[in-house]
Symmetry: C2
Subunit: 210 residues, 2 copies
DNA sequence: ATCCGGTTTAACCAAATGGTTAATATTGCG
DNA sequence: CGCAATATTAACCATTTGGTTAAACCGGAT
């Protein structure tokens, strides 16, 4: 299954077949969704035979879960780990937004992908959510305490968190609409996101600062 | 000639077959997506034969477009019409958010549905976007002028608009995740949205008021 | 009654698709 | 080398699925 030390490949460091499959599958699944994705297309994208997909991953469902879980886990740990070494609220917000946007730039189709999967099967998400449980609780506590100290206005911490995530994720979910409305290119879109690394935390902090 | 008092239908006013199909299709397409939806399921949901679907709408693609265009048009006109009779910025923001959230309550799966379709076929959206063109331009102008008058801080009007839409739409897109994270029911989710009719405009206005 | 247009259905069909199998190629190793 | 395990492929298979066809149904006009 795992290609440990292939002789020919030592110079170029070609990715293993398994990794090629995963990458191809991620690409196809993110753009077409689970139902719209075709095993043949994944195989073509990976440059292999369709049967080989079933050799590595027994079924479409398992392949999908593998790809999805990998991406989703990475997503959640990136985001929540970002505020592990912050202990005051405003820097935490800045770090969180930066981490979120950076991750989105890495894999722009992910939020839509995750939203769809969670909508399709709300049960299968307990794992990922629980992964960030402590960090999330800690963040909510930070908000609560800042509120008690009078640093910020009276706001439901959970609602604040929803707002932060909305401001980070939504531009990517609505990406095609934004691109068309503003008549911008991929490049200009990226610049806009880069700007948001600064403006989104400013926007949030201005609205909650006491 | 015309049957003035049809015996069976005068009381119940059953919807026409065509409308039953549209309603069924909307339901199935929103939950399963275009690719995941099955014509048979739409037929069952509408209580009719599968062939009848093709009698009214020639193909799956046409049925989908019919449903999608109807929902999307309604969506955009609801939202943009809401600020036609506002001429100062803050009330406009309040009206816009209220209209957006009301529409979302009406059809909660729509934002995800639209996001997916625009992602699948970014070309086919020019119509809907252009429908709100003037209203959008007018809103951006209102922001610009409020900025010049010193009523609000220096902010890119387009970025403000993105933020507003993000705060409105995202809770619905992330609905399953929110429900699980906060451990809430459908009912509690609706209450949270009702609250947001007030808190979201407050959140926005606080962050831009000079 | 009968005929006629629009409506509805059961039975079919061809293509697409996820998945399997058996045979072939490649690699690691004694 | 030679052999065993792993990797890869071409050809198939069964089912699903969008779509078609021809027949039946039904209300109203003649």
């Amino acid at each position: 299954m795992v290609n440990i030390a292939p002789s020919k490949k030592q110079m170029v460091a070609e990715p293993s077949t398994e990794q090629r499959i995963i990458d191809a599958a991620r690409k196809v699944f993110s753009t077409k969704g689970m139902a719209g994705a075709r095993m043949q297309e994944v195989a073509d994208e990976a440059g292999i035979n369709k049967a080989l997909l079933h050799y590595y991953f027994r079924s479409k469902q398992l392949l999908f879960e593998g790809v999805f879980k990998q991406s989703a886990q990475r997503q959640f740990s990136c985001i929540w780990d970002s505020l592990k070494q912050c202990d005051s609220l405003f820097p935490a917000i800045e770090a969180f937004v930066a981490a979120y946007l950076d991750r989105m730039i890495e894999e722009p189709l992910l939020p839509l992908f995750i939203a769809n999967e969670l909508n399709r099967d709300p049960k299968g998400l307990a794992d990922f959510v629980d992964r960030g449980k402590e960090s999330r609780a800690r963040f909510l506590r930070m908000v609560e305490e800042a509120r008690k100290r009078g640093e910020i206005i009276d706001i439901d911490p959970r609602e604040l968190l929803v707002n932060i995530m909305a401001l980070c994720a939504h531009p990517f979910i609505a990406q095609p609409m934004l691109k068309h409305i503003h008549g911008i290119t991929d490049d200009a879109f990226l610049r806009m996101i880069q700007k948001r690394r600064k403006t989104v935390p400013e926007f949030i902090i201005r609205s909650i600062r006491a």
